[in-house]
Assembly symmetry: C2
Homo-oligomer: 383 residues x 2
């Protein structure tokens, strides 16, 4: 067995063992590597914190079977080893994980149905989520905004639920755009069952994604974890309609924790389906938007802003190594460059350039404006 | 002729001469008194800055006739000499005037139709304004919010225009509440003419108010000046529906300049009549509200916050004289008191206590919270 195959089986095994985010396991993998981590779990040679989360399924040796199941349904597993792993998309969660947020861990792997590259599909993406009990008004607004964005090349990410979610996917499909459904169950289990056909259509031209291995049944807590993946894969989250207790507010919470724009469309104040949106706007949790161009204003050119203490520039630039140093060096002293130009100049692949830029932005060393990325010579990165 | 009569005729004369806000004239009155100022205008013994604004009508000696006209229509003129002059309401404009804002001057007098006290009617007041071309939705929301507030004892201030304005007045009338129409023309000239009957009803149970003398025709620039009076008489401004260029946004601008809450209700994003509201919320010019209780949250217990440089406390308290000193002395060193308690304790009338508190707040010496007014021992008044 090749080392690559061995690693892949280790990822798959671990994904099935923990079924969902597990910061302690991510930390172990980070420290000893995935193959070694898988062995430690199998042999129960674990720190106390990992015994509980791995106890129930550590004897599930069905990695090969899982991969076979995926092949059968035209799917695959995407691991952090794969070129299509959207590493830069995961930086928001990586920050939460680094902040010892147990729930905010980076997914171990993503199970995927559909032939598109996960990395390319999420290059410019907006999550559009909302009430299951949407109104005709909400459906119409979702259709207009999601359709406009999809037609302009934005990927629409949502959760395939009834109501706004389904409308968002359908609007993207209708204009020949790309859409990604993130499920709280295995990608081989259409959920809700009535969206069997919709999910098949999404897999045809877009992607159906889950961090849960095939066969996993949707359970309540998994929806909250799923919402974090929706937020992670997107430049921002738009809520079109939401009741007071809507799950969409949870997705917004994830976006905000990752420093990504949270947006909401208003509606009639007489409509219960807009109460959650109005509350979020009123409380400053979401920005009011009414059309696609306003969404682009807010979530447009990769506008990550990261919470936490402001990093200082001094000494950081000199301490850079590897790809980050190369990309930083490729930036001019004055003026800005687009990622494509930096890739051409440095000889690095575009996704790596982009990931490095985002990391450099986290460090407060570079910023992004209308003309591309630029060095920051003092202070911190501005939004 | 008594001195009081002489002063009244002087106010009335000057009101007719300048017809609208005139900061330079206000400054002259402040410095030499109203009778002397009237004589200076009549005799053209004026600084350069006042010759232009007074030139056209300084020979209009019709003060007695104006007062007779008002008597005939059941009205009166209210001058700063009158007990019902809402001095504390005018503090916002006084601040703008002090900041040499030519357009933001305190009205010289207010011409009034209706038997209620202007001071008492504006004790707790909300301006509700909006689109002339309102929708059924906007009318309904206006009716609900303005009706709820009027039923709870809030005076509804508006401009008697078609659409939202008229709906706001009618909602207050419908629940037996108090409403004030502020006109951009003389109060003897119903404007718009179709609202003749509505204005008569308002005058019956509320007030019709204008800073323009009887007979004055509505001209465009007068509407902008009128909007500042609407904002000045109110604890906050609520816009229910507004197109992109609505005059309601001008009223909001006045409220914001006076540090008073600007509120807007959202509507369907598909409705042109809500575009201005959404824009104001989006741009942070207005807070989103959906119902009366949210309005009260924002505009509720006299929450003035004044723009400008923060005043310091040191020495100011010691320098107080007159009513201000009495009211400040009545406040406990620790804890808060309601205005009524302070009035009882100090033996001063409630309106004077309130006016003094607001002035003390301007100085940064007192603040207001849920339990009433309290001394501020360092820094400045907080909102």
């Amino acid at each position: 067995m090749s080392e690559a195959d061995e690693r892949r089986l280790a990822w798959v095994y671990l994904s099935r063992v923990v079924q969902g985010p597990c910061a302690a396991l991510s930390a172990l993998i980070e420290s000893v590597g995935v193959v070694e981590a898988a062995r430690a779990v199998r042999e129960r040679a674990l720190p106390e914190s990992l015994r509980g989360p791995t106890e129930q399924r550590r004897d599930s040796y069905c990695a090969a079977g899982d991969l076979e199941t995926m092949r059968r349904i035209g799917g695959r597993v995407v691991t952090p080893d794969d070129p299509e792993w959207p590493a830069w998309r995961m930086l928001g969660l990586a920050q939460l994980e680094a902040g010892r947020d147990q729930d905010g861990a980076v997914p171990l792997v993503l199970w995927v149905r559909g032939s598109r590259s996960l990395l390319e599909s999420t290059e410019r993406a907006l999550a559009v989520v909302g009430a299951r009990c949407s109104t005709g008004y909400g459906d119409r607004v979702t259709g207009e905004i999601a359709g406009d964005l999809a037609a302009r090349g934005w990927t629409i990410v949502s959760g395939a639920a009834f109501g706004i979610d389904a409308m968002a996917h359908r609007a993207a499909l209708a204009v020949g755009g790309v859409t990604i459904a993130v499920l709280a169950c295995g990608v081989d289990r259409p959920y809700p069952a009535q969206h069997d056909r919709l999910l098949a259509e999404i897999a045809d031209v877009g992607l159906v994604v889950s961090e849960y291995p095939p066969g996993t049944v949707a359970r309540k807590h998994q929806f909250l974890a799923r919402n974090r993946v929706i937020a992670a894969l997107s430049d921002g989250v738009l809520v079109v309609e939401a009741g007071l207790r809507s799950g969409a507010r949870n997705t917004v919470k994830w976006a905000r924790r990752m420093g990504r724009p949270a947006l909401a469309t208003p509606g009639p104040v007489t409509s219960a389906a807009s109460v959650g949106c109005h509350r979020m706007i009123r409380d400053g949790e979401a920005l009011l938007v009414t059309q696609a161009c306003e969404v682009i204003d807010e979530a447009g050119p990769l506008r990550l802003s990261i919470p936490g203490s402001p990093p200082t520039v001094t000494g950081q630039a000199e301490a850079l190594t590897g790809i980050r140093a190369t990309v930083y060096a490729a930036l001019p002293g004055v003026g800005a460059r687009l990622p494509a130009a930096l890739a051409a100049q440095s000889g690095l692949p575009l996704p790596e350039v982009r990931a490095a830029l985002t990391e450099l932005e986290l460090f407060g060393l570079v910023g992004v404006g209308e003309n591309g990325w630029h060095r920051i010579t003092s202070g911190r990165a501005t939004r």
